[in-house]
Symmetry: C2
């Protein structure tokens, strides 16, 4: 997937988020400590007062609110065009969805082919969709986790880059399990980006092989 990039150059990553931005923070931290050879080109939020924008600005990262209205649950139309244009203006290579509460559509996936990543708080293909930690608890699994995957046209179906597992404890509530999964998310995203930055990811069918 990375054949054409200059591996000595930092991977140019844009981050889209709607909320607190704790996954964005884990990526920022990995860059600042030197473990991830990347640069965040911009952070864009569809929520004007989302804390993810403030986090970015604290680290000197370009951060913008871009309304995605009139749509409520997807990024499409003029808004989508604005998102793509801003990211392309910064020579973005990889788009990271970090708590971005909208479905992304074909135009974005076409602009960044196989380069839009999402993180999902379950060991996919188990428990796609909303509140997956609660789904896991209700089902009664003993192992839960998170998944970083390439976004495709489906919901939570694309090729998997990284998965991390956590135990489900007998006295877990949805909140305690979610917290344990989030701690692994903060390792999983930097790990997936490190693999992409170093050009070690190869797609074999739907299987992402990290060399």
């Amino acid at each position: 997937m990375n054949d054409k990039r200059q591996l000595q150059e930092p991977l140019r990553v844009a981050v889209l988020g709607s909320g607190n931005g704790s996954n964005a923070q884990s990526i920022i931290d990995s860059i600042e400590t030197g473990s991830l050879n990347a640069k965040i080109t911009c952070v864009i939020s569809d929520v004007e007062n989302a804390y993810i924008l403030e986090r970015a600005r604290k680290h000197g990262i370009h951060a913008e609110f871009i309304s995605a209205a009139p749509f409520k649950t997807k990024l499409e139309g003029d808004a989508e065009k604005k998102y793509i244009a801003l990211m392309q203006s910064f020579q973005t290579e990889v788009v990271v969805l970090a708590g971005f509460m909208r479905i992304v559509k074909t135009a974005l996936l076409t602009a960044f082919p196989n380069r839009v990543l999402n993180i999902h708080p379950a060991l996919l293909p188990a428990f796609p969709g909303m509140e997956s930690w609660k789904q896991a608890l209700d089902y009664g699994v003993k192992v839960a986790g998170c998944t970083v995957h390439i976004v495709d046209e489906g919901t939570d179906t694309g090729p998997i880059l990284v998965q991390k597992s956590v135990p489900v404890l007998e006295n877990d509530t949805p909140a305690t399990l979610h917290t344990r999964i989030q701690a692994e998310e903060h390792k999983a995203y930097p790990e997936a980006l490190t693999a992409l930055a170093s050009g070690r990811v190869r797609l074999e069918g739907r299987r992402a092989v990290i060399e």
Copy 2:
């Protein structure tokens, strides 16, 4: 689930298998080393020359071939009655399916309510059905595993007692991944039986809580 058993008494376990019996061996070993307070009442196979029968006899365990003909893929009818009668004659409390290549039906589940266990080589609910290690590899997951669950009327759907995860390595073949999963199966079944033997399992809806 275990309120009525005398906890100082060994859990009385019957094992059904069609093949090599490596999971049966792990249970035998756990009993012989004293980590599992159980007694194998009998081992029954639907395959006359299955090695699981020889394993059992080597350890002085009652072992019988009982034909399940004329059915090819399920245990039903007269054969099912014979299996149940033999297990009940030995005051069996728990039925362990250990590579038993037949679908068990209502009569067996009714005779041993919530006490028929199966092991599945995947982190259910992901990858139910056959050759789940190959399904996992084809899907491209990075974490695989195994599941011990209570058998219900569905296929691989019952309440989960124990799950163990393993990493998927980038150069895995179906065979190497299956071997890694089987090593965890050999821990998972004794662990599930130990929980049952000590009366620590409680069902809350479909969630099995191990106290």
